[in-house]
Symmetry: D2
Subunit: 164 residues, 4 copies
């Protein structure tokens, strides 16, 4: 596929790191470039960091910011890395406010830097889906693809599920 | 997607390990299950190990074996993990001998067990493509998807490229 | 060295894990056995988990418990894995209450399970020191060895330093 | 300990990497600095790469080169990273040709870059031993310390053992 894909980074567990001085989790720089190198990804990507926030801290202004960036992007296909806690909310917002593009959101349950992370698998998964799917907003988690408004995060199991 | 996906394991660098007693690379058991757990993959998969061979050691009988397994499988969507050296040859063979199914081959340039592996990324990528693509035989490497007979491995760069 | 070495596990960052359901750090089982296997350690060790606590939560009863265990042990050489935050306090307590044995405390600034951990290095270091040093209580961190009461944790730098 | 320690790098499995273009193992740069950073080692070290060779390829000239470097070094305490296959031969050579210094050799059964490596554990172990032991030549492997001429590598088990 020759089309360029836009990648917007917004933070989430995907990019968190461990602060050894105080034992907390925090954001430094994104690890996306390192992950794409590890995956030997040769896609034509344009990558921008919009923000580095835990999605529990997202407000309407943040979501509007993401929607504006998606609309303004020259690309028709967009991947967004995002915290899993409110990924479905952002997906719904984008479905209303940014039509006519293929937008796929993904994230990770464990920080990439922590070793046992699903981040690299999800990145491969989401980048595949965004190349093929028709215009719409989707969530790629747990190897599956979900349409916005038809998915919820099962917080007991820590996984995403379809809702009718 | 509710359809079950079949996964056939055939070996390749994807599953090699380091033998610390003599410094060589060899096959023990597949790491696919461990990788699917790491990726928190919740797809409905049926997994079989057909063989554990370096694809440079494949012969016609091996390829026929893979084709037969694909045809005999109840599933319409099949992922095959395979060595990268002769992946394009197997893909061409399957395109002639196993029609009407969506078959995606993938592998890794670095063994999963070696840390800096593209295996997990490729697995996520291939499992996404196999759910969406129409019937045909494909190769998923470097984040991209290629149709059988339209791809070659660039051995200088260690990556896959389209050919017209 | 033919002598058996006792290892007491008490928790600390060394053994913490990431809870992907709520993003917190917590204790499950110790990873010490896994680390000793990774290090291909062939020493004769007797391993006991005394508790799995963050050392910021330690109280006198916990320290007394550790001292009692050290005194009761048949072994003359004892390694203790411990949180770094109050390691110096426990070391001082043991220097007063458990004499005539070689006791070395160590820990980690980053959980072993997080990838970029100093845990494995410190374990190798501490196991070496405990085999050679004369009776006394010591802390092994940052590749160095410190006597109890002559060391403090520099919390700005996240490392251990001598004090006169 | 305030004394500076010299570290001589000579190669061995410790520093090997996987060449994904042809599937072989080879040397690029040493990973020692990365490992010392991971271990948060704060010792005062002077590090030199003497050569990057598999110790099966060592000849007398190589060993003489190592002995000369040890004698010429200002430091009294020296760590040498070395392939495990002929580590005992080099240790014996040094015991004859470089007296009056504390010299500890260590290595790894699995390349550090391969994930499941004993390299980091051995590095912590060897750096501890070299600080404490009296003048002599030693091998630090499997958590243990052996005197030169009193150790052999058990190639069936892949570990080091005492010989009387």
């Amino acid at each position: 596929m020759k089309e360029k894909i836009k990648v917007f980074i917004t933070g989430g567990t995907f990019d968190k790191e461990y602060n050894e001085l105080n034992g907390s989790l925090f954001f430094k720089e994104t690890h996306l470039h390192e992950m794409l190198t590890l995956g030997r990804c040769r896609l034509d990507l344009s990558i921008d960091t919009l923000m580095m926030k835990d999605s529990l801290d997202f407000n309407d202004a943040d979501r509007q910011s993401i929607a504006n960036a998606c609309s303004a992007a020259a690309e028709e296909r967009i991947l967004i890395t995002h915290g899993t806690d409110t990924m479905t909310i952002t997906a719904s917002y984008l479905a209303k406010n940014c039509r006519n593009k293929t937008i796929v959101l993904t994230g990770a349950m464990v920080p990439y830097k922590f070793g046992s992370s699903d981040g690299l698998f999800n990145l491969g998964s989401a980048l595949a889906f965004v190349q093929i799917l028709p215009a719409g907003v989707y969530i790629a988690m747990n190897g599956k693809i979900f349409e916005a408004d038809k998915v919820k995060k099962n917080t007991d199991k820590g996984e995403f599920e379809s809702i009718s």
